[in-house]
């Protein structure tokens, strides 16, 4: 595998007495599609939350592209090129699909309050971004939803749009929290095909939490298994699936 783009070193996060994470070390290589699995409450979402700046870790470090990023605020982490999605999709319901995508690019001229009233200052940039957004939406078969409200979308489409929101900013790494939850089996496979396609065509990196192992395992290069805030196992999908510790953790929970 290539060099790691995201590294987590001895990461711990305690909530009072609850050790949601307790010394996790792992790395995500560039252009990898990496899985993160574990029983409920094993600390997967917490790991994402610490990496993306939601929480300050109790101990440990997070490195992204040679830079230490733990303790940064979520917006700063995003601007470095790390995009996350949520377990429950969080699009903006009063904006259309297009606007949801248009919102993301950072440092838009028209986002500054003093330039915002003067259309001519940002009109070109806005149109340019709109063309880019439409092109992206079309590329992934969502062209017809440009004007749709978020509430009119299916769960799978919402999850795709959450990812496309990152694409327009040229973000490199995507942390997806249960992208296939609540999605029909075939759609889930389509979603993961989409992810693979992004990796192959755009050279992006994915780090994916997923409970639906039957889908996940067919698409990932490497898997980490969390259990009670610690790394239980890691390896290629088939190695992990045959690891007795993993089987026990999943059955014995």
């Amino acid at each position: 595998m290539t060099k790691p783009i995201l590294e987590v070193k001895d990461l711990a996060k305690y909530f009072g007495g609850v050790k949601a994470l307790d010394g996790v070390t792992l790395e995500v290589p560039e252009r990898g599609v990496i899985g993160l699995i574990g029983p409920n409450g094993s600390g997967k979402t917490t790991l994402f939350n610490v990496v993306t700046g939601f929480y300050v870790p109790t101990r440990g470090e997070v490195w992204y592209a040679g830079e230490r990023i733990d303790g940064l605020n979520p917006n700063e982490v995003f601007l470095k090129g790390l995009v996350r999605t949520f377990q429950i999709p969080r699009l903006f319901p009063s904006l259309t699909v297009l606007e949801n995508v248009l919102l993301t690019p950072p440092r838009q001229v028209g986002e500054r309050v003093l330039t915002a009233p003067f259309r001519s200052k940002w009109e070109e940039q806005e149109k340019e971004l709109a063309r880019k957004a439409v092109a992206l939406l079309r590329k992934f078969g969502l062209g017809e939803y440009v004007r749709a409200r978020v509430s009119e979308l299916s769960a799978a489409h919402m999850k795709m749009i959450e990812t496309i929101r990152g694409l327009i900013t040229d973000a490199r790494v995507y942390l997806l929290d249960e992208p296939a939850a609540g999605v029909a089996y075939t759609t889930a496979r389509e979603l993961f095909t989409f992810i693979r396609r992004l990796r192959d065509e755009e050279g992006l990196t994915f780090f994916i939490i997923e409970h639906r192992l039957e889908v996940l395992m067919d698409f990932v290069d490497y898997v980490y298994v969390l259990h009670n805030g610690r790394l239980l196992s890691e390896g290629k999908p088939d190695e992990v699936m045959s690891d007795p510790k993993v089987i026990e953790a999943y059955i014995g929970r």
Partner: protein, 355 residues
């Protein structure tokens, strides 16, 4: 028997109140309708503007004419009556300075107040701002240099040097409506811009907006600065119109009044805020014209007015949540780009969509 009704005079006084309240309503709409910040202390910023204008003008006039008396004493008030209007340049200068300072100072207070409240939820923001408003009123009620409970009077009207009071009023209403026009223009422009998009995103889900790289605290602070500044300007306009201010003009019910305008007009729509302000100020003006002619009533008409507004707001929220002029989607040039793309792809056959 109603006395002869001066329709034009009514329109002028309604127009002035409409202008002042519509500025307040539009600014509150920016805060709550677009950004989702529950500003329950709007009256504070309005009061800051009004008191700033009042104190600046009375102290300046007394200082310029070397009157030693304090503005809240009888001598001071007499002196203000004597010298106000003596110099057009001074009156207009004070007016202009008050407007600028009113915007900046009220805005800065709003900006500073956001620091502790940026991260906490709407409940805490609302409580803090409400408490701040009450605090300010209590301070004014007890602070002698600002006239304590009697407030300050004798604020020189900017057009006091015009001998005809009717003309004076008419000029003033034009100034007020001019400020309303600028406020509305600005609000509409920023609503229909990428900045407006960010505001709505923050309103919908501030955590997600933060995760999408938006500096949510800065956005909120900016909006509170602008919104409070606008409220400060409205306060300045009020002070010069009324020619006196006192702490009881700035009770929490005023905040509620502004909220009522925004809700009635339609949250998230700037024009709606103006419509709401127009309706409520119209009713209020009618009431002030009618009340003196009713003689002694069993129940004070003002109480009935407030009861109705209170219940009306609840009913609007329950049965017409969008208000009279519901929120519209954002209009930016992005849609023009989309339209031309759609036309192209129609002309060029089915091309475009890959999957």
């Amino acid at each position: 028997m109603l006395p002869s009704f001066d329709a034009f005079g009514f329109l002028v006084s309604w127009g002035t109140f409409l202008g002042i309240y519509a500025i307040l309503a539009v600014s509150l709409n920016l805060e709550v309708g677009l950004t989702g910040m529950a500003n329950f202390g709007k009256v504070a910023f309005y009061g800051i503007g009004a008191y700033l204008a009042a104190s600046l003008s009375v102290y300046a006039v007394l200082a310029v004419y070397h009157v030693a008396a304090a503005p809240y004493t009888t001598e001071g008030i007499i002196a203000l009556g004597k010298y106000g209007g003596a110099s057009p340049a001074l009156d207009l200068g004070i007016f202009a300075a008050s407007l600028v300072l009113g915007f900046i100072i009220a805005g800065c207070v709003g900006y500073l107040l956001t620091y502790p409240t940026l991260r906490v939820g709407p409940a805490f923001l609302g409580i803090t701002l409400l408490a701040f408003g009450e605090l300010l009123r209590i301070f004014l009620l007890n602070y002698q240099p600002l006239g304590a409970s009697k407030g300050l009077s004798g604020i020189p009207h900017p057009f006091l040097w015009i001998p005809d009071p009717v003309l004076r009023e008419r000029l003033y209403v034009l100034v007020v409506l001019g400020f309303l026009a600028v406020t509305l223009w600005f609000a509409e422009r920023i609503t229909n811009s990428p900045f407006g998009r960010v505001l709505k995103a923050v309103r919908d889900d501030e955590v997600a907006a933060l995760c999408m790289g938006k500096h949510v605290p800065r956005v909120k602070a900016t909006v509170l600065f602008i919104g409070s500044g606008m409220a400060g300007v409205a306060g300045v306009l009020l002070a010069f119109y009324m020619s006196s201010v006192n702490p009881n003009m700035f009770v929490p019910a005023v905040t509620f009044n502004i909220w009522a305008m925004v809700i009635l007009g339609g949250m998230g729509n700037n024009k709606g805020a103006v419509v709401g302000a127009a309706i409520i100020t119209f009713v209020d003006r009618i009431l002030t014209f009618i009340t003196p002619n009713l003689g002694i009533t069993i129940i004070t008409p003002d109480y009935v007015r407030w009861m109705i507004v209170g219940i009306l707001i609840v009913l609007v929220l329950m049965f017409m949540p969008g208000g009279l002029v519901p929120e519209k989607p954002i209009k930016t040039p992005a849609w023009e780009a989309v339209e031309s793309l759609e036309k192209e792809s129609k002309e060029g056959g089915s091309g475009g969509d890959e999957a």
